[in-house]
């Protein structure tokens, strides 16, 4: 609006002191503004009676992901994650196992099973390594790879960085590249230390709220799901089977009847074998497209 490049300014002064054209400016989310008329009408005491001691009122969450009831929900502050996921959300889709809730949008963090009974308010979320943020709540199940989840959010952060300050401009790019490296099976244990150090430094030095919270997805997944990171870099395995480079398709010789359907459909001719004899996949030719897995009628193709 001022005709300048869109980028954050140094605070203080905050917009409420000096904002648009140097005038005091009220910048708030729609949800915050939407609360104002209700508070006016029903009074602050009524509003304060809802919620917890430090987080008053209600909160709207966008409940999504691997959950049966997807949608916008408004709950009093202090509601537990368990109530949200299992009562309001109706539990995990297809009866799968709950793994985590990514809350607060791209710069939020992941809450794990141990946080299920924590009352959700501003302070508890921050203590758990996440934040209220945008009010997003994405439920993840056992099929979700936490490294990939962190990479997905970093992708968004890299896209959204304005480029003004060095830690966010370059640091998030490097974190994203490192996560990619890990997902591609080329990560090392040193990379995990590198990620942790970068995360702390970016949080400590970035200019605006985006940069200061951008490492949250990485930090919280490393904190809660360190084993999964270790599996990627040490065992070169993706426990959730999401990272393409880390999975291999093999044929279980006991189940294979030698129908040749997989070999006929393989786009790289990686599968060979005589009729009615168990087939074999040449791993050097396999591009992990999963066609054989889908075509096999005998469940003989297994993912390792």
């Amino acid at each position: 609006m001022e005709g300048k490049r869109g980028e954050p300014t140094v605070k203080p002064p905050f917009p409420a002191q000096s904002g648009y054209l140097g005038k005091p400016t009220n910048v708030n989310n729609v949800e915050t503004f939407a609360n104002v008329p209700v508070i006016y009408l029903k009074g602050p005491e009524w509003f304060s009676s809802i919620g917890t001691a430090k987080s008053k009122g209600t909160k709207v969450f966008a409940l999504a992901g691997k959950i049966n009831n997807v949608g916008l929900i408004e709950v009093p502050m202090g509601t537990t994650l368990r109530e949200i996921v299992y009562e309001i959300g109706g539990g995990i889709k297809d009866g799968k196992k709950f793994k985590a809730v990514q809350s607060g949008g791209p710069s939020g963090g992941c809450l794990s099973e141990k946080d299920l009974d924590t009352p959700i308010d501003y302070d508890n979320l921050i203590a758990a390594g996440s934040m209220m943020g945008s009010g997003g709540m994405i439920v993840l199940d056992e099929d979700d790879c936490m490294v990939s989840v962190a990479k997905f959010y970093l992708d968004f952060i890299v896209e959204e960085s304005c480029g003004k300050c060095a830690p966010c401009r370059v640091g998030n790019k490097r974190m994203h590249e490192t996560l990619e490296k890990i997902c591609n099976g080329k990560g090392t244990i040193e990379d995990l230390d590198y990620l942790k150090n970068l995360s702390h430094v970016i949080k400590d030095t970035a200019l605006c709220g985006l940069g200061q919270t951008s490492p949250n997805p990485v930090l919280s997944t490393i904190d809660h799901f360190y084993d999964e990171y270790l599996a990627h870099v040490v065992d070169k395995k993706c426990p959730a089977g999401r990272c393409k480079s880390l999975k291999s398709y093999v044929i279980n010789a006991e189940k294979c009847v030698g129908c040749t359907l997989c070999a006929k459909n393989c786009p790289t001719s990686a599968i060979t074998g005589e009729k009615r004899v168990p087939h074999v996949i040449d791993q050097s030719k396999c591009i992990k497209c999963g066609t054989c897995y889908e075509k096999c009628k005998f469940g003989a193709i297994e993912i390792q």
Partner: protein, 587 residues
């Protein structure tokens, strides 16, 4: 004034309200490193985007680290500038910046002068964590007659942007793109020559890396000097001698005129001349033009254009051609000293030496990068042969001297050659803001009043304030003078003139901070504006020491008019020493 008590690294200190942690630390000898922050305090120029995050410090009670450049001191604040947390952050951030920076330091034009290189050394960077196939932000290279842009080396300090937009109000450079690809560039990332760039080069003067550099002509000069068929003459601008010494370890503000002349002779120039001679000539022409316009004005001529604007500064000429195309007949038509010199050297002097125009090479040593553009303008060529062949900067001269194994510091003082080497104190002060107009006043006063000037120093015209005004009594006629340096100040003055707000008779404008002494071809000041102030003092001191201090008393100028030009503003003068301007308005 409210005083604030705080401690920095366990040292208590009291500062005025509004002082930043960075400034407060400096007062007690703690130099917090930074990359983007720049404060040219003598000139009122500050760049503080808080983008590099190198100057971060720990403040007790604060969640994250604070950028000291933009954090004001508060009562009771406890600051630590060198804890492990701070040092690790600083180092990690610098490593990140270096991870997206070419590693070609050995062949970079800024090698040895680069602030990023120096910082990497200070912070003890020994390795950069390398992600395999890590992306590098790369951009199209761009070259112009004066400046080169290699934005792969940009660290987004935004200093160039501040100079171009806020100080100069040229608006050629600004941050473009988002995130990792963010960089400072022209609009739509077009070539600089297609932008409103004036080639003032102040972006180059403040660039901490090799992203913005000058176009280097040293090799062309070496080749010309080695060519036996060429007579190579050199001219040196007044501001060069006040700064060249810095490249050889002399204290800022040391004039090295004599050593410079000796070095040029050693380099093999056939004649070592002085642009100052041409500056005296400029005063004769421009001063006469001024008096002519004032005379007509006093006679009641309604069409006379006043104020007259100086036209020595090529970046300023570019600026008004771009921004004030409706006022092209207001500036003096006199060429700049560099071009007057070239025109006289390739006519009057070439004839005297019996050298053909095409066999003479004129090299100029300038504190300026816009001069490189100026000397290749078509109107300063005769049948394609330029009056000035190559313009090199003070920095390029220093590198030529070093390349030629000349021990500059032990050189004896030598004089310039004649006839184009004689000059007056008036010419010398062309190098400082206010100097051209002071020189003009010294001559115009005596011509206008017919009286001898009692007082030669016009201190009211001096100083580093951006816009200055003064009225000088020409025997009862008050001559109103305006002075501006930095193009943003020039714009303010010019907008006022356009709106009819002022009644100036003459205005001097220099594009660079402090005038030519702060030019973009000078040794890098690295954000220390006291260097520019010291150069200014050196120039005024040398002027005081000169025996002849008024342009019209230069004996070789008198001779030039007698033998060749006739009188100022004569037909021959018009042919050789005056020019016209073009509408370069873009949008």
């Amino acid at each position: 004034m409210e005083l604030i008590k705080l401690t920095i690294d366990n040292t208590p200190i009291e500062v005025e309200k509004g002082v930043t942690v960075f400034q407060a630390a400096k007062k007690i000898g703690i130099n917090i490193p930074s990359l983007c922050y720049m404060n040219l305090e003598h000139l009122g120029i500050e760049n503080r985007p808080s983008g590099c995050r190198i100057c971060v410090v720990e403040i007790e009670g604060r969640r994250n680290l604070a950028p000291s450049c933009s954090t004001e001191c508060t009562e009771g604040m406890v600051v630590r500038t060198n804890t492990p947390r701070v040092l690790n952050s600083r180092k990690t951030v610098l490593e990140l910046i270096l991870s997206d920076h070419p590693k070609d330091c050995l062949i970079c034009p800024s090698n040895g002068k680069c602030e990023l290189q120096a910082l990497a050394s200070t912070l003890g960077i020994r390795e950069i964590h390398a992600v395999e196939n890590a992306a590098m932000s790369t951009y199209r290279k761009d070259s112009s007659p004066s400046l080169k842009r290699d934005m792969d080396k940009c660290v987004m300090c935004r200093r160039c942007e501040t100079m171009c937009n806020e100080v100069q109000t040229v608006g050629a450079l600004g941050a473009v793109n988002r995130g990792f690809m963010a960089v400072v560039a022209t609009a739509f990332e077009q070539d600089l020559v297609k932008s409103p760039c004036t080639f003032c080069g102040q972006c180059v003067a403040v660039c901490p890396t090799g992203a913005l550099t000058e176009v280097d002509h040293t090799n062309k000069v070496v080749r010309a000097l080695a060519d036996p068929t060429k007579t190579v003459v050199v001219q040196t601008a007044p501001a060069v001698r006040a700064a060249l010494g810095e490249e050889f370890g002399f204290k800022p503000g040391t004039s090295v005129t004599g050593k410079m002349a000796a070095a040029l002779r050693k380099l093999g120039f056939d004649k070592v001349f002085d642009t100052d001679f041409a500056a005296d000539l400029t005063i004769m022409e421009e001063g006469t033009e001024l008096l002519g316009r004032i005379g007509k004005f006093l006679e009641g001529d309604k069409n006379v254009k006043l104020p007259i604007l100086t036209s020595c500064c090529p970046a300023w000429v570019n600026f008004f051609e771009h921004n004030y195309p409706d006022m092209l007949d207001v500036p003096s038509s006199a060429k700049s000293p560099q071009q007057m010199f070239g025109a006289i050297a390739k006519t009057y002097f070439a004839d005297k030496m019996n050298v053909k125009r095409e066999d003479m090479v004129v090299v100029s040593v300038m504190p300026c990068l816009a001069k490189k553009y100026e000397c290749q303008r078509d109107e300063f060529k005769v049948d394609g042969n330029p009056d000035v062949d190559y313009s090199i900067s003070t920095r390029e001269l220093a590198s030529l001297i070093k390349m030629a194994n000349i021990d500059f510091n032990s050189l004896p003082d030598e004089d310039f050659d004649q006839p184009l080497g004689e000059s007056t104190g008036a010419a010398l002060i062309f190098g400082v803001t206010g100097g051209v107009i002071e020189a003009a006043v010294r001559t115009a006063y005596e011509i206008y009043t017919g009286k001898k000037l009692e007082r030669i120093d016009f201190k009211e015209l001096r100083g580093l304030e951006g816009i200055r005004t003064a009225s000088i009594d020409f025997n009862g006629t008050m001559i109103n003078i305006g002075i501006a340096h930095q193009l943003g100040n020039a714009r303010k003055l010019l907008d006022g003139v356009r709106a009819g707000m002022y009644n100036f008779h003459a205005i001097e404008i220099m594009a660079c901070p402090g005038g030519c002494i702060g030019g973009a071809g000078q040794p890098y000041h690295h954000g220390d504006s006291s260097i520019i102030a010291a150069r200014s003092k050196a120039i005024y001191k040398e002027d005081e020491e000169k025996t002849i201090r008024k342009s019209h008393e230069n004996p070789y100028i008198i001779k030039l008019y007698e033998e060749f030009l006739g009188k100022p503003m004569s037909e021959k003068s018009h042919q050789l020493l005056h020019t016209h301007y073009f509408d370069k308005h873009k949008v």
